[in-house]
Every structure is written in structure tokens, then in C-alpha cells.
Symmetry: C2
Subunit: 415 residues, 2 copies
Amino acid sequence: MMTKDYSRLKINPQRFQSNFKALSQIGATTAGGVNRPAFSEAHLFARAWFREQILRSGLEFYMDGAANHSGVFRSSKANALTLLLGSHLDSVPHGGRFDGALGVLAALEVLQTVQESHIDLPYNLEAIDFTDEEGLLHGDFGSSALTGSLKTEELSSINGGTERLSFCLSLFGKSPEDLLSARRDPTALAGYLELHIEQGSRLKNSGIPIGIVTAIVGVGSYRIKFIGRADHAGTTSMQERRDAAQGAAAFIQAVRQLVIRDYPDSVANVVWLKTYPEALNIVPAEVELGLEFRSPDSPKLRELERALLALAKSAAQQSGLGLEMISMSLHEPIQTSEQMQELIRTTAHQMGFSTLDLISGAWHDAQMLAPICPTGMIFIPSENGSHSPLENADWNDCVRGANVLLQAALQASLT
Amino acid sequence: MMTKDYSRLKINPQRFQSNFKALSQIGATTAGGVNRPAFSEAHLFARAWFREQILRSGLEFYMDGAANHSGVFRSSKANALTLLLGSHLDSVPHGGRFDGALGVLAALEVLQTVQESHIDLPYNLEAIDFTDEEGLLHGDFGSSALTGSLKTEELSSINGGTERLSFCLSLFGKSPEDLLSARRDPTALAGYLELHIEQGSRLKNSGIPIGIVTAIVGVGSYRIKFIGRADHAGTTSMQERRDAAQGAAAFIQAVRQLVIRDYPDSVANVVWLKTYPEALNIVPAEVELGLEFRSPDSPKLRELERALLALAKSAAQQSGLGLEMISMSLHEPIQTSEQMQELIRTTAHQMGFSTLDLISGAWHDAQMLAPICPTGMIFIPSENGSHSPLENADWNDCVRGANVLLQAALQASLT
């Protein structure tokens, strides 16, 4: 095994790019991105396309009980562990071409390159496309099922309920009962590596081609309802009103001010979900907001949570409004494996690429894998954020990232 | 005609109240109000009930091309003019029991009382229930058609388009072509009188039972869109964001501050209509607001309009956002007839009721009638605003108002 020196082996950049172009056509939007929410027609088509590439390459295709799609390149070694490489093919509604898709294609490209080079590794390589990372049903749905962190009791609180869950899984011939079977034995996993665009501007701004993710922020979310009174908007004086929109607007502004002033490492986002009644001649009686907040360490996440809820209370109080707050989710921050960080650093430096240690502000399947096996993430520079049709990455950076993934996968046994 | 002195004639308070209770059951909500939007099942049922009362009383029933429903008590005089008394039976979604309904029932009660007393007036009395005052299709739909202010060219811009218009009218066996026939010859109208709850607290607070409406405020409305950029809410720093919600929230708060500070006679209402994309992990790229503003005189209405648009521009600018503003409607303030004001004042004082001159902050069918015939409005005290299930009026005040309407209708020829 691995008798030759493969440290100069590279992926096939033409095939990688042609695959990227083909995949970007599936669910393509006129805005230049893709619209491939999990379980949509475009998502199903993208997964069918992925499966076809796997089978055509002579790799083994495998789908687990959570409908995660995998291509497998087996080691000749008996009872070999598996090194997972992957990401996801679903997008947010009207999202971009790179988020998730790049990592799945790079994983596929690594397996194809290793196979063509007839390399026999001491572990299986598995290129995995996780189901519903973006959380149509549940954030990191497929990776949660694989790691066993999606509990049976959570299934009833899934977005859209169990009927929707059943329907979505049935699209892949699976049922909620199959979900448990997706759980992998952690001792059979050698680790997990994921290539992803940064979705931020630190690499781009610093001119460094490879980011090494040291931690992924924790994320919490709430539904917050401000409750006033429906009054005639022509006959009720401004002073008499209990306008739910005033409290909500004050909260939206205060959240931004608080985070900028007191939590420079954290972020928060407020999305206005509902006004009731929705009539121009009625003072809004109820406004429902969605709040999401992220922080890189656990105590700060809790502190930020408390500060945000206090803001909502004070905004409601100052506008004479009632308030309801429901916690929707809370995911703790995680650290990636130092061994995997070092592996990525070493291989990148071997290729002459400088690296930057980064904390990921976004949620990834890696967050689910980190607690059960050595997990590493490689970021490449991107621009125009992400979850947007405008998200973009330089193709040379994508190739550099895929080559680092390849070399990290090849050298994982040496660490 | 009118040889006897009927100045002490009163309506039948038991019948009036029993009718009010019966009508309040139609579309009744558990919150204590009614949900009778125009063309809903409850609205159709309420109008069928009204028609039945008209026919049972031996009054003449009449429906015009805009589906306005009328009961008519004819004068024996040849070519008699018609004095219209009325309001509307539709409510806003989840509205209250009094707004509109009280005026229609009082008009019906007046006709029944006059008929029972065998009074031959020198003009016809018509109790009219105007179609869709609350503006499901178009504000003051029925009264606009009757007065000829609803123009053929406006029909294509009706809420929901011409297909919905056709469907709604077909529920009453009418079509858009019939609308023109609803137009009345202004020279055939002796005037219009409407009884309504104040929908504000000035009468209630002052303890005065009868309000005389001297003017109805003008109303304008806009759709305002703040345009930012969809970014990943985890990876984009607060400083980098172009968050459409920030501009919209700043605008909502600034509108309230401006009106309270500089336009004490005016009001404005902002309703959040849409966030795009509506995902917690994406920074809002677009927010659409509805803005409505009201002012008692024309120059102030224009000045307020300019000041509000300037606020939106400055809110967008300060958050680095684009802006689109579309004018949806502008209705000029109107004055009621001085002759009708004096008629209401005199009859109320004859009955020993003190009166208060008021400007109506709400839109009424009277606004449409005022330009074409002598128009007067009687307000009675109410509480908890209106357009709300909580709107309420003391039943004794309702009876006082109906008696003033009766006497004003009887004495209209003397003015």
C-alpha cells in the first residue's frame, strides 16, 4: 500500500470544471445561482447526476437510510476504516453555485483521481453528499442521522411535521424508520474532511488561498412575537396606539447595535416573518420575528442569547407591548480536530500554499461529524458572501482547494 | 304631507337592538367581533338577512349594478328626490360589530318607523348598504360606483384584477358591465346621512353623545421597498451587511416620531408586507412595507406625503440600501355640507343632546357622496377603536344616534 510517492499527484482540473459546470446547470437561476432546496425537483436531479458520475467512474454507489448519497473507493485492506470526504448538493432557495456543491464535486474528483492512479490506501475513501444540510426539514439533517445526533424524539418537531418527513424520504424510497439505520459506528470512521468556500471575505482580503477551520460557531434561534392591539389606523391617535411594529422595529435596530458594540466576534440576524392583521388601515396587532445568533464559544453564545432576549423585553416594554419568545434551536460551537488541522496545513505548505486559521461563521455538516471522528475543513477564498446567487470563487482557488483535499486524503494515514 | 308634528317621534329601540343582535351573529368571531369581509359567505348572508328585513317590513327592495342593497320608502309626491341613509355591512377581516353595521340598521329602523307612522314625506327615503366599503376590491367600492367616481379605466387596477371583480359581482348576479348603471343622477338626490361609531375616543372622553362630522381626512398610501443584499447570516460581518430590515425598521420608528412631532392632526401607519428571502440564515435582501397616512386638509396631506417619502430616502441611504416607492392611492380630504351639519345640530339639541364638531379620521361612504349631494355624518361615542373585535358602543348611545338620524331625516325638507 502507498509504496510510491504520490505527493505530487494532482486532480484532473478539466474534469473537475466540466463537472462543476454541468452541476451548476441543474436548478440554474437567471440571477446566476441555483435554486436547489432539498427534495425539490432540481435537488433530485442533481443527486441522480451525482450517482451517475459515481457509477460511470466504476466507484461503488451507496445510499443510507437518511438518503445520504455516497461514492465509495474501497481499500484492499480487511476491515479498513472509512475516511469521509463530502458536503451537500442542496442549496438555500435561490442560492449560489458553490456552497456545498464544490465540496461534493471535489470529493468525487479525489476518488476518481485516486482510482485512476491505482492507489491502494489503508482506508476506504467515501465521497458523501449529505441530505438537506440547509435544513428544509432540520439543519444538517443527513449528517445528524449519520452521526446519531438526530434523535427519534426530535422527528415530531421537524419542520412541516412527520408527514412531510415521510413524503421527503419517500422520494428516495426511504421512510422515517430507515433513519436510525443511517447511523455509523464511529470506530469505523477514520475521519471527515470537507472542502467549502469561506462564505466570508477574510481569505479574499488577505490573498491567502487556503483557510484551515479551527472551530465552527454555535447557533441559536428564536421566534419572537410582539403583541399590541388592532386599531383603526385613521381614528386612533399615534399616542393611543399599541403598535406591534414599533416594538419589532426597535428590536431589529437594537440587535444590530448591541452585536456591533458588545459582541464583535458574534453575529445576529432578524427576519420579519408575519404581520397580523396585514391591512394598511389597521394598526399591526402582532408581529412575529425570527432571530438567529452565532458565537464562536459556548459561554459567549449563552451571554449573547441572554442579552438579545433582554433587548426584546425592553423593546416590548417601551412600546407597551406583550411578548412571546420561543427557542427554536441551540447548537453548541465545536472545535475541529488538531490532527486534521495539522494535516491540512502540512499538505498545503508542501504545495506552496500559505494558510490562514479561521473560525467558520456558518454551520456545516462538519459540525455534526466533529464530535464522533477527527474532522477537518478546508476553506477557499470566495466573494459576495454566500446563500446568494452572487456568491463566487476563483476557479484556480477551487482547484487549489481540491488538490489540498486530495493530498490530505492521501496523507491521512501518515498522521 | 307632514301635516302633523312628528318632532317627538322615536325609533323602536327593542326592534333596533334585536336586529343588531341578529346581525352580530352573522360572521361572529370567538373574539367578540365579526369576520365579514366583502363577498365572504358571512357578508352574503348578512345582505340576505338585510333584504329579508326590508321585504318583511313591506319596504321596496332594490339592488343596483354595483350590488348596493337598498330598502326604499317612497313619497307620494311625483318625481320626488331621494334622501339616502346608509353605511355598509362588510367588515375588515376579524373586525367589530358596529363599524358600518350600526348605520345600515339605523337607516332601516328609520324607514320602518316612518312607514309605521304613515308619514308622507316630500322625498323618498332609501336605506342603503354600500358594497365593499372596506376595500377588498377598492375602497368605498359601492359608493364610488353610485356617485360615478369609480371610472371604467380604474377597473383593471382593482385589487385582484378584473377576474376577481367579475367573480365578486357574479355572486350578486352582476357583472363589471353593470357597474356603470349604478351611477345615480345627482339632481335626483336630496342628500345623504350616515350614522357611525366615532372609532376614536373624543366623544367618549368628553361625555358628549352626538358628534357632527365637519370633514373627513384625506388618505394616501404607498408601497415602499428597501433593497439590500442577500448574504449568509453566519459569515457576513455586521458591518459588511446591506440588511434591508435595518432601513425598514429605522423608517417605521422615524414615521411615528415625525407624525407625533410635526403633524399632530395627522396619522400614519406602516405595515410590513414582505421579507425576501424569508430564511433565518440569510440577511434580508428586500423588505416591502405598506404606508398609509391621513391628514384633515389638502396642503397638509401633501406636505406629510413629502416628509414621509424623505424619511424613507434617508433611512435607505443611512443603511446603504436601494429604494422603490410606488403611490397606491391618494384621496383628498372632503368637507361635509354645512346645511346637513346644521340639521344634525338642531335636531340633536331639540332632543336635549349636546354635540361636538369632529373631523373624521376614517374613510366613509360619505366621502364619496359629499361632492355630489348635501352630505352629513352623525357620530356616536365608541371605545376600543374600531377595525377590531373589541370595538364597542353603549347601546343607549346607539339609540340616541338613531333618533337623531330619524329626526334629521324627517326635518330634512324644512332646511
